[in-house]
């Protein structure tokens, strides 16, 4: 249990730094086509132990989101989206519950629950997160086309990175 806590904290710090210092600078740009942004920090919330109380999840999401906002200079946009993601996480976990149930002390990683389970879990939450994030960023559904383009392309790119991350650090983080 204690090692799980250390793991979560280390994971959170590393991912925040990775997002803020590395992925923030990666922008795929081909002329006018600038819709791809890499987001990996929602993984911190995704991989919290299943048993974590919801209040704690939302609070962690708020703190993590604000620290990402510090890097992005965007005051509250990431925090708002991540709090929303944390809020719907429990519903998604309940929705995807396998026949045998969960081991509630563990994190819902790919190595515990399998490739396809993790893919659908991460897909739902990433899509929700990105859509919410880009909506708040644009702040008006007048820009619906830009919101959808940003969401779809960033979603594809981010999911690939997240699945690679889970495949590489299979047993550790």
């Amino acid at each position: 249990m204690n090692s799980l806590l250390t793991k979560s904290v280390i994971r959170a710090i590393l991912l925040i730094l990775l997002q803020g210092l590395v992925f923030r600078r990666i922008a795929f740009q081909m002329g006018d086509f600038a819709f791809i942004h890499l987001f990996i920090y929602p993984v911190i919330i995704l991989l919290l132990p299943i048993r974590t109380p919801k209040i704690l999840q939302i609070t962690i999401a708020f703190i993590v989101g604000l620290s990402i906002d510090v890097f992005y200079n965007s005051y509250g946009i990431h925090a708002s989206a991540l709090v929303f993601t944390a809020y719907v996480r429990d519903f998604v976990i309940k929705l995807l519950e396998p026949y045998s149930g969960y081991d509630v002390d563990e994190s819902p990683t790919m190595s515990k629950l399998g490739f396809s389970w993790f893919l659908s879990f991460a897909s739902i939450l990433f899509f929700v997160h990105l859509f919410f994030y880009f909506s708040v960023e644009a702040f008006s559904f007048v820009f619906f086309f830009e919101i959808m383009m940003n969401t779809i392309f960033s979603f594809i790119a981010s999911i690939i990175v997240v699945m690679l991350y889970q495949l590489i650090f299979r047993n550790n983080y």
């Binding site: 939302i58 708020f62 965007s74 509250g76 946009i77 708002s80 809020y87 708040v136 702040f139 007048v142």
Partner: protein, 273 residues
């Protein structure tokens, strides 16, 4: 008291979620410029709707008294008009600078959009009031746009805030002229193109209409220069112009009727052939 505590225990997560979202949105609105603008616009649209409804209701209750006073005022005005009709032409603004070439038709704006890429205004005057397409529209403070379509009682205006709008404009005091276009999404900022870079422009200069178009009179003020730079690989300036007009809050405008326009167009066409 106990019940309130119970509510917190039961719905704590949801309340916390809402609380965090409120904190986030407060942060967003207070610290990000674009978000603040969208928020204040939305708020003003919503509240003006609400205020309108309340106004309508209170107006309705006061109708009787107002009707009385209007009838009396009407009678007084009729007197004045009938006595003066022979001596002045009410429709024509007599201005010696404009040489009686232009007359102005007062109009109210019925409908408008501001926040889109291509905005349109609708005026409550039409061909019955003498409006024709390709007439200029101005307000007291500056220019507004150009009439494109006219029906009997309404006319449609392409305002400055349209991706296709191009107004011939020059810097006051200089003879250089260029095109005023709207590239930004800010309804108060436009860009003046095609002023050659040897022109001695400076920040704070006034931009006026050039008068080279037969639509607007010469020397109507448009805005001031806030910034200018030479575009890459070009020998022309790109000049940011801050409009005098706040098109967002405008409700009464004047349609410009150029009495000599047909003569000018006729002459220009005949020399082209």
């Amino acid at each position: 008291m106990k019940n309130i505590l119970l509510i917190f225990v039961k719905y704590g997560t949801h309340l916390l979620f809402v609380a965090f979202q409120i904190v986030c949105f407060t942060l967003i609105i207070n610290n990000n410029k674009e978000h603040r603008e969208i928020y204040s616009n939305t708020k003003s649209i919503f509240f003006s709707n609400f205020n309108n409804k309340v106004d309508q209701l209170s107006d309705y209750l006061k109708l009787d008294a107002q009707n009385d006073s209007l009838v009396r005022e009407n009678a007084k005005l009729m007197d004045i008009i009938i006595n003066q009709r022979s001596t002045t032409d009410i429709d024509t603004l007599s201005d010696t600078l404009l040489l009686q070439q232009y007359s102005f038709i007062p109009a109210e704006i019925c409908n408008k959009t501001i926040h889109l890429r291509n905005n349109y205004f609708t005026l409550c005057v039409g061909s019955l009031d003498g409006v024709e397409s390709m007439m200029g529209v101005i307000s007291v403070e500056g220019i507004v746009g150009i009439v494109t379509k006219v029906s009997e009682h309404y006319s449609q205006v392409i305002p400055l805030l349209h991706s296709q709008s191009r107004i011939s404009a020059s810097v006051r005091g200089l003879n250089f002229f260029g095109n005023l276009v709207w590239t930004d999404s800010d309804p108060r900022v436009m860009t003046l193109e095609a002023i050659p870079k040897h022109a001695p422009v400076s920040i704070g200069d006034t931009i006026v209409t050039s008068g080279y178009s037969s639509i607007f009179p010469k020397d109507l003020p448009i805005g001031t220069i806030t910034n200018f730079e030479v575009a890459k690989g070009s020998s022309n300036y790109l000049i940011d112009v801050n409009l005098f007009n706040d098109l967002n809050s405008l409700s009464y405008v004047y349609v410009v009727k150029n009495k000599l326009k047909e003569e000018q167009i006729e002459l220009e066409r005949s020399s082209n052939e």
